[in-house]
Symmetry: C2
Subunit: 354 residues, 2 copies
């Protein structure tokens, strides 16, 4: 038994209908709504075949049929061929919305997820830069008050991380710059994630050099290093969580609660993309049981990467039911990730020109 043209047409019709209505699709519905030129009885025969082939299941004997994950996979692969090369006509408009007011990374991400969930009507999220891989450019201390100093870690990607330090004793203002320079020298070129490892050796080196005369620095150092190594938190933004409450599949409070808990938990979201190997492709679609996480076995995940300097640093995407409007979501995720990529590579990666 093979997937001939008519079977494909019927399968697509069933998937479309189910995506629209979330109701099991019967043969009569198909023959009425989609002009296939055959009677319900014929469609019934084909549907029976499709079920045997694993593309459809029947919730109960006398009901219509619903697509399986395998069917969605087929549908999406087919769709992808068409969308793959399509140009994005609204790129500039999207960019200006995303970059509205501020080109701060956080603001870019927040705007992106907002617009993504507005367009798709599903839940969207960004797993923001895992800065562990980022290389330190230099360190700058900025005095704030007598007993507080702002520590800026300027990364080579032009991202700036900040930590507020509390001092036990004031640092003379003439030493502030010297300390910044010393720290920069020691840390320049190291990855943020490696700080933990090289912490002790940096402290040792500074002890040996003339810097050990610098009391203020030596006092501050262990505390400062501690604060810096505690920076690797993953940032997750999400939006449109309530959108799923409009979907009939989440009429069940228990299911809704599970979903929301999962999405709201940064750690579970971050874990989705922990194994960097799996997520190399720019656009990744994971349908139902293809998800490794049990909690998402009824969901589909469409995510895209964003890169800086060609290096993958995070993912943006949409979570929805397996019955999602793949066509729209794929296009939207693709467009928005393209927009983000252009924005951050303009702003954080060298010669920006108006």
């Amino acid at each position: 038994m093979s997937l001939d043209k008519r079977k494909i047409a019927i399968l697509k019709a069933i998937i479309s209908s189910y995506i629209d209505n979330a109701e099991a699709v019967g043969s009569r519905t198909i023959s009425k709504k989609y002009e296939l030129g055959v009677s319900p009885a014929t469609i019934r025969n084909e549907m029976s075949d499709l079920e045997e082939m694993g593309f459809l299941i029947q919730p109960h004997t006398s009901s219509g049929r619903i697509p399986t994950d395998k069917a969605y996979r087929y549908y999406v692969d087919d769709l992808w061929k068409k969308v793959k090369k399509s140009k994005n006509p609204n790129l500039d408009k999207l960019k200006s919305i995303i970059e509205d007011k501020s080109s701060e990374l956080d603001s870019i991400f927040r705007n992106s997820v907002r617009i993504l969930s507005q367009i798709t009507k599903y839940t969207s999220f960004v797993v923001a830069p895992q800065l562990k891989q980022s290389v330190i450019q230099r360190i700058q201390l900025v005095p704030v008050s007598e007993y507080t100093v702002l520590l800026l870690i300027i990364l080579q990607s032009n991202i700036v991380k900040q930590v507020m330090l509390r001092l036990n004793s004031p640092i003379p203002s003439d030493q502030m710059e010297r300390i910044s320079v010393s720290l920069s020298e020691k840390m320049h070129g190291h990855k943020l994630g490696d700080l933990e490892k090289i912490k002790d050796s940096i402290i040792r080196e500074l002890y040996i050099t003339r810097e050990s005369n610098n009391d203020a620095l030596m006092d501050l150092l262990p505390y400062l290093m501690d604060q810096m190594t505690g920076l690797e938190e993953v940032n997750v933004f999400s939006d449109g969580i309530t959108n799923i409450l409009d979907l009939p599949e989440y009429n069940d409070i228990v299911k809704a609660r599970e979903f929301i808990s999962f999405v709201e938990d940064k750690h579970s979201m971050a874990r989705l993309f922990q194994n960097a190997e799996d997520i190399n492709s720019d656009l990744e679609i994971s349908i139902g049981s293809e998800n490794k996480t049990v909690e998402l076995k009824d969901c589909s995940l469409i995510t895209a990467t964003y890169k800086l300097n060609g290096k993958l640093i995070g993912r943006i995407g949409v979570i929805g039911p397996t019955r999602m409007d793949y066509s729209n979501v794929i296009k939207t995720v693709k467009s928005i990730s393209e927009a983000i990529n252009e924005i951050i590579n303009q702003n954080y990666n060298g010669e920006y020109k108006e």
Copy 2:
């Protein structure tokens, strides 16, 4: 008809029982669970009186009774007398949890709402500093790369706001400091919220002075001022939103959705505390219909202020059903707000000592 001792005992018993079970309370239940020494029939008579006085209502003729907002108000006022002066034995423990790892404001707030919702099992939130009232201490530009500069706005409260600026042309490094000083001179002492108003006059003044020779500054200025005035966003953190899905009153998806949408919307949350006059008291309890917002007419809100320099800058609190565990929530909100106040006044307001 007056609230004699027995009526009060019965009323409290009914409220307790309803807080625990969310089920209309009958006379038999009261006489069995709470030892009042009278028969159900007597309790029935008293309940009938309490209903007439507006403390109870009956959802339908043959059901038990549930407390009205008026009853909760009485209950809470009574409770407050006892809690008011109580000391908080866990203050130091709370402080260390809240200040875990970082004393960054954002991190303090995030930790606070997390622990607040964990303890209370309701939804908690912080409406973070409205910086409009904050006074600018000085301005500092920090070079990040050839075409990017980080603008730091250091406020007198030791809070630092940052904006990333993109340059059309590089600023010579010897001018960077001079620009910082000029800007600081002009803006020192002004409120962040007033920038919009004084923007033009600052630009004019700088034109008149020798600074107008400083091309880099004059190029940058309008863009910089625009970015600074766009900073007044309100920050809202929340946690434990899913907790409400465990409550029977939110078994209804529509109600749950309304609630979550409201809490997730920063603007609606911020609006709760817009009228500064209303919220002077350190601990504010707003029950059901006492809330001005229609969306919260079935909710109670328990919030506390946090202050810097004696000046109110934000609120932290809990939203839950009117049937909430007031005793626990009031104590917890009180403790946590005390902890926050101590932390931020140590860190952001002068002489910190270990």
